[in-house]
Amino acid sequence: MIRLSHVVKTFPNGALVLKDVSFHIQKGEFVFLTGHSGAGKSTLLRLLYAEQRPTQGEVRVGGHLVHALKADEIPRLRRRLGIVFQDFRLLEDRTAGENIAFALEVTGARTDTIPARVTRVLTQVGLAPRAQAYPRELSGGEQQRVAIARALVNDPAILLADEPTGNLDERATRGVFQLLREINAGGTVVVMATHDLDLVRQTTYRTIEMREGAVVYDSAQDDAGGAEAR
């Protein structure tokens, strides 16, 4: 589903942020991407959704050669991905329902199908009764659920989550994490960058740990529980 081969990323200022990163994520996996801030987790995710281009190496996502995509091919890739951020990135002047509908409208979905699809994902994240609420009227956990619903509405094969619980209290974190697990149980690949090790330790999901731009531990290859993270 996702395959990185010898990926190197250098920023224009010369900083080397990814050093020869290679791994393979298969269908149905839930993968934690861990490491301190600045370890390269976010950059790695950005390579996956073609926000940035690797300096060297190959990035394959769901059959797309992402490292070689032309600008006008990127939207096709992104419609197969769901992307969630720490800061939710909702539009403040639109209701929860409208935020989700927006994602459908701008990708050219048929207008008559939109309300039903919005209701379906809102139900899936447990927020159907809050469809008319504006982001400011929702708690952090609820806002993140709306963002996840928006990410799900195009039925993505892969969900990329960059510190999705970073702004949430413990209870909301548990709720959002449970939601991500349910989504994964439905067959969607989930890649979640986080530095919340408590969360990581709760499960036996595969963990890829990064430090200073390099993969220093991958539970799929090293013996389970061998890293200092555990």
């Binding site: 926000e51 006008d72 990127i74 991905l81 539009l91 928006r150």
Partner: protein, 297 residues
């Protein structure tokens, strides 16, 4: 399609002041161009009136038989440049002199013989009323054996040429400068809208909206503002035109734009709007674009 218009029109509602400002600046840019256009148009009208009076006079040798002149004037009339040929006999010339040169009326009355020669007065067709063509016709007239002398206001015709060329060049330069200013202003206002909506655009890109989809509303917005600016500019021009014509009797003959000119101004406004927004959106999309290393939003 509905979404496209909704988004484009929404920007007017979201930022009414900014939108009004950009429409006004486009209007003023086009207004200035329009005013200059009106001046040029009226100058051209005025010149046309003067030009119609550009004529070449060929003085005829005394004693030339009228038949020869009649035949020759038919010849001259068939020159491609020539609009009309009038034969002014010696008597006609004297009569005209008595009529027009009042101060010398007494002198002319006492004359024993008519000192004035007969002449052919030649008017040129539109498009040939310039120094080059006048000279060509004049030199051909010199070739007739009965023609004593040919006169045409050479300097005067040349000055007319220069004036017209200057008006044209000035119009192009000033029009070009204002067009550039208008493009920049539209670009800036669209850019402000872009920054206002950066978050939305960012999300559109994340969920996989195409660049053309993102551009669409902005191009439409630019085009609409150009259209409104163009119409407003025409209204302002008409206002200025009406004031000038109304207050100055000497300018009562001023003309306003033909429908085709108005269409050109409006189309020009729309093009300016489109160009300004295209440049601005293109730069913005590249800047936050998927293939740069800059951070977004």
């Amino acid at each position: 399609m509905r979404l496209l218009f909704r988004e484009a029109l929404l920007s007017f509602r979201r930022a009414p002041l900014l939108s009004a400002l950009s429409v006004t600046t486009i209007a003023f840019s086009l207004f200035t161009v329009g005013l200059f256009g009106l001046v040029a148009l009226n100058l051209r009208e005025a010149l046309r009136g003067i030009e119609e009076r550009v004529e070449i006079v060929a003085f005829v040798l005394r004693g030339t038989p009228p038949e020869t002149i009649t035949v020759a004037s038919e010849d001259v009339a068939s020159f491609p440049e020539v609009l009309s040929v009038a034969y002014v006999t010696e008597d006609d010339a004297l009569a005209r002199a008595r009529r027009e040169l009042v101060e010398f009326r007494d002198a002319y009355r006492d004359l024993q013989t008519n000192p004035l020669p007969a002449s052919l007065e030649i008017r040129l067709r539109e498009g040939f009323r310039d120094a080059v063509h006048a000279e060509a016709v004049a030199s051909r007239l010199q070739g007739f054996s009965f023609v004593e002398d040919v006169r045409y206001g050479r300097d005067w015709v040349e000055q007319l040429d220069d004036l017209r060329n200057l008006a044209g060049i000035l119009g192009l330069v000033i029009g070009g400068v204002f067009a550039a200013v208008a493009i920049v202003i539209i670009g800036v206002t669209i850019r402000l809208t872009l920054l206002q909506r950066a978050r939305e655009i960012h999300i559109m890109r994340l969920v996989g909206a195409t660049n053309w989809f993102i551009r669409g509303p902005f191009l439409l917005e630019g085009g609409l503002k150009g259209l409104m600016g163009g119409v407003l500019a025409l209204l302002l021009c008409y206002g200025g035109y009406a004031v000038f014509r109304g207050n100055t009797p000497a300018l009562a003959g001023l003309v306003f734009f033909q429908p085709i000119h108005m269409l050109v101004i409006i189309v020009f406004g729309v093009l300016l709007g489109l160009l300004g927004s295209l440049i601005s959106v293109g730069r913005h999309l590249r800047m936050i674009g998927g293939r740069t290393d800059r951070r977004i939003v």
